[in-house]
């Protein structure tokens, strides 16, 4: 099946002195995809995002963005927008002035460039004429996103866009990103919030110590994962415990259950074994009221893969 690639990276390396920030990175992001970048601190996420924005050039490897090979710094093609290490805003300007200045810088007419529209999209219309110096971190993040939207990007690169966002702000940002992806814009974002990534991303890349330890769809990540802990709440906890103990591939964690709630059972299993347990519970006439992973599959995979990588090193 053909897919249009917004990013194609092969064997990207980047060092700062003796520190190897990226070590042979491969990455592919298709058009209209929201791609998550995950990794512990120092894994190389910001360096990689910086390369995508054109802030630096790789020491070796091949990077192609929107079809343009990137051979030198600041050569990212038009259509790439975003921010790393927080949005760049000028506190002495209002939100609207920040956007107007940026639009004028790019040679766009302030009247026709859609400043009001992007402010509305990120939910900052009410504070459009307030100075950015008074903005909270979340408002600054949203204004940074608005600045990126102003350029009508085809590739949006965002570093921790959910930082400091309240629930309403998060909803605004998520809806904007989802709509952009639907319209064909590719989005690459890094985050430490696994719930955000699971809600937004169709694919993720996990980095550890400058290397890719996983890249692909979230479903593939779940399938590759080892056993997960699940919270199981039923109408008959005692009977459910017995059935779980008798089901092959399912292990009951008594300590974990006692720590939380006596009505809740914590079981460790792969997905097929868990499916078998659910079937047996239903046949036994026990109602399943809650079944959810204790930690998300992405987080579990992240922890497992990054710990493995650390152990290898």
């Amino acid at each position: 099946m053909d897919a249009l690639l917004a990013i194609r990276a092969r064997g990207i390396t980047k060092s700062f002195g003796d520190v190897v920030a990226l070590d042979g990175i491969d990455l592919e992001v298709t058009q209209g995809q929201i791609h998550g970048l995950v990794g512990p601190n120092g894994a190389g996420k910001t360096t990689l995002l910086g390369l995508l924005l054109g802030l630096a050039v790789a020491d070796s490897g091949h990077l192609e963005i929107l079809g343009t090979p990137i051979a030198r710094a600041l050569a990212a093609p038009d259509g790439v927008a975003g921010f790393v290490d927080g949005p760049g805003l000028y506190p002495s300007l209002t939100a609207r002035q920040n956007l107007a200045a940026l639009a004028a810088l790019r040679g766009h007419s302030v009247r026709t460039t859609g400043i009001d529209d992007v402010l509305d999209q990120v939910g900052l219309t009410d504070v459009a004429d307030d100075r950015a110096s008074g903005f909270s971190l979340g408002m600054r993040q949203r204004l940074g996103l608005a600045a990126a939207l102003l350029t009508k990007p085809r590739l949006l690169v965002l570093d921790e866009p959910s930082n400091g966002l309240d629930p309403a702000g998060k909803t605004h940002v998520h809806s904007v990103l989802t709509r952009l992806a639907t319209d064909g814009t590719s989005v690459v974002l890094s985050s430490h919030r696994m719930d955000d990534l699971e809600a937004l991303c169709s694919e993720v890349t996990i980095l550890a110590t400058g290397r890719v330890v996983f890249s692909g769809p979230l479903s593939k990540l779940a399938a590759e994962s080892r056993e997960l802990d699940y919270r199981l709440r039923t109408s008959d906890p005692q009977a459910a415990r017995r059935l779980a103990a008798d089901t092959a591939g399912v292990h009951v964690d008594d300590d974990a259950g006692a720590r939380h709630d006596t009505q809740v059972l914590v079981v460790r299993a792969l997905v097929p074994a868990l499916d078998e347990l659910v079937v047996r519970l239903v046949h036994a006439g026990i109602a399943v009221r809650e079944l959810a992973p204790v930690v998300s599959p992405l987080e579990a995979a992240f922890l497992a893969l990054t710990e493995q990588q650390e152990a290898i090193r």
């Binding site: 099946m1 053909d2 897919a3 249009l4 690639l5 917004a6 194609r8 700062f16 592919e28 298709t30 058009q31 910001t46 360096t47 910086g50 924005l53 054109g54 802030l55 630096a56 192609e64 929107l66 079809g67 343009t68 600041l74 050569a75 990212a76 093609p77 038009d78 259509g79 790439v80 927008a81 975003g82 921010f83 790393v84 290490d85 927080g86 949005p87 760049g88 805003l89 000028y90 506190p91 002495s92 300007l93 002035q97 200045a101 940026l102 004028a104 810088l105 790019r106 040679g107 600045a147 085809r154």
Partner: protein, 452 residues
């Protein structure tokens, strides 16, 4: 099988032009309250200051042209020019040029700016041009405001030059404007040093203070008994040398050398800032461009520039020692006395006498004749002799001189009382300030012009 989006879209990289970057930088500068405050202050405060001081009974006689602030409105703008060269311009360049790059480090906006503009070269050009524009606006404010305040408060009267000759109001206005234009050269040098400090020192407050510190160091150097070749080769000399415009003929040599040296400094410091800026690694968050290598790369070439300019000035001019020699002091004092004597004669309604008829000469010594008659000091003593038509006996008058290392002197009349011993003279219309009682002058350190 994959294909890239280039198949669907024509990709390309479009850089922002310097003109648009310049407007962007201007918007950012003008949006800062401190810049707005500076602009307002520079366009309003000098007028109020000059008008207020001109109405005082006690004038700032220790400042060049300060003693003439009652007599003409054009003295006020020159007093302001002297003050600006000492304090205002170094501080203004510090606040504007010394912060124009560092502010991006403080705000964490470099990456944003680079992604938007995509050319460090154009960012540098836009920032340098925008800060230059604001500095020019501030200097224009100081000049226009002080001139307007003086002319409105005192009037458009003739100005007494530094050698005592009288400049018409139009001439005074033109030379005042020219003097302000001349100090743009050392101002540009300080602005370039500000850019260099802002680039090389990053977030450090030293970057902001660098122009002010350099200006202070240069002022201290001008107070020291340095060889004249060193004095003239410093980039701030034009802040002093503009006074040469107010003699007849104008002492253009030191002024032109000072301007050229300042411009060389401006170009060199800007070029160093440019090179350091282009070398900076903006991908490293902890790197704000500062560091030993950056500081060394900024400082060493400028130290070398001082050595080169001193050598060139020493080789190209007959400059030796302090430049304050007995014959130059005598010539300056005698010339100024002759011009002012003529003015006093007109005040007293006496027959007009020309400077040529007066044939004024001065005999000066230092330390009561016990010291070599050269160099700065407040122990110079001059006896001036002159002749009046049809009077056989020569008139004489005594002056005590305080000559500073930059060549400027204050001559204090020591008698006789009817000529220079009292601060007032009795004119047909009442008492008036005695122009011969005390007067300012300057010794031309580089004798490139001949007195007419």
């Amino acid at each position: 099988m994959t294909a890239t989006i280039a198949d669907a879209h024509a990709a390309g990289t479009r850089r922002v032009s310097v003109a648009r970057g310049y407007r962007f930088e201007l918007v950012k500068l003008v949006s800062q309250w401190r810049i707005r405050l500076l602009v307002l202050t520079c366009w309003i405060a000098p007028a109020l200051f000059v008008a207020a001081v001109s109405q005082q009974s006690s004038l700032p006689v220790d400042t060049l042209f300060g003693r003439w602030m009652h007599a003409t409105g054009w003295a006020g703008t020159l007093v302001m020019l002297g003050f600006a060269g000492t304090w205002a311009l170094p501080l203004l360049t510090s606040v504007v040029a010394g912060d124009v790059f560092a502010s991006e480090d403080r705000l964490g906006t470099w990456r944003h700016l680079l992604v938007a503009v995509r050319s460090p070269r154009r960012i540098f050009a836009a920032k340098a041009l925008s800060s230059l524009t604001v500095i020019l606006l501030l200097v224009a404010g100081l000049a226009c405001s002080s001139a307007a305040g003086g002319v409105v408060a005192v009037g458009n009267q003739p100005l007494v030059g530094l050698d005592g000759h009288l400049l018409t109001p139009a001439d005074a206005a033109g030379k005042s404007l020219l003097a302000w234009v001349c100090v743009l050269a050392p101002t540009l040098a300080l602005a370039a040093i500000g850019l260099l400090g802002s680039v090389a020192l990053g977030r450090s407050p030293m970057g902001l203070l660098l122009p002010a510190l350099v200006a202070l160091a240069m002022q201290l150097a001008q107070m020291l008994p340095l060889p004249v070749a060193v004095r003239v080769a410093l980039p701030g000399y034009a802040f002093i040398a503009w006074s040469g415009l107010f003699t007849s003929p104008a002492q253009l040599g030191p002024l032109l050398i000072g301007i050229v040296v300042s411009l060389v400094w401006a170009v060199t410091a800007t070029a160093l800032a440019y090179v350091l800026f282009l070398r900076r690694d903006f991908t490293n968050l902890t790197d704000d461009g500062s560091g030993r290598r950056a500081v060394t790369a900024g400082v060493l070439p400028l130290v070398g520039l001082v050595a080169v300019t001193v050598a060139v000035v020493a080789a190209a001019t007959p400059a030796t020692g302090s430049g304050i020699e007995q014959d130059r002091v005598q010539r300056s004092v005698a010339t100024a006395f002759a011009h002012l004597y003529r003015m006093q004669a007109q005040q007293l309604n006496r027959p007009d006498v020309t400077e040529a008829q007066l044939q004024a000469t001065a005999t000066c010594n230092k330390g009561g004749g016990n010291l070599a008659a050269q160099g700065p000091g407040n122990d110079w003593r001059c006896v001036i002799s002159w002749h009046l038509p049809d009077v056989e006996a020569a008139g004489t008058a005594i002056y005590q001189l305080d000559v500073t290392a930059d060549g400027r002197f204050v001559a204090d009349g020591d008698g006789p009382k009817e000529v220079n011993g009292y601060f007032l003279v009795r004119t047909p219309t009442g008492d008036a300030p005695n122009p011969l009682w005390q007067f300012d002058g300057n010794v031309e350190l580089l004798p490139t012009t001949r007195k007419g």
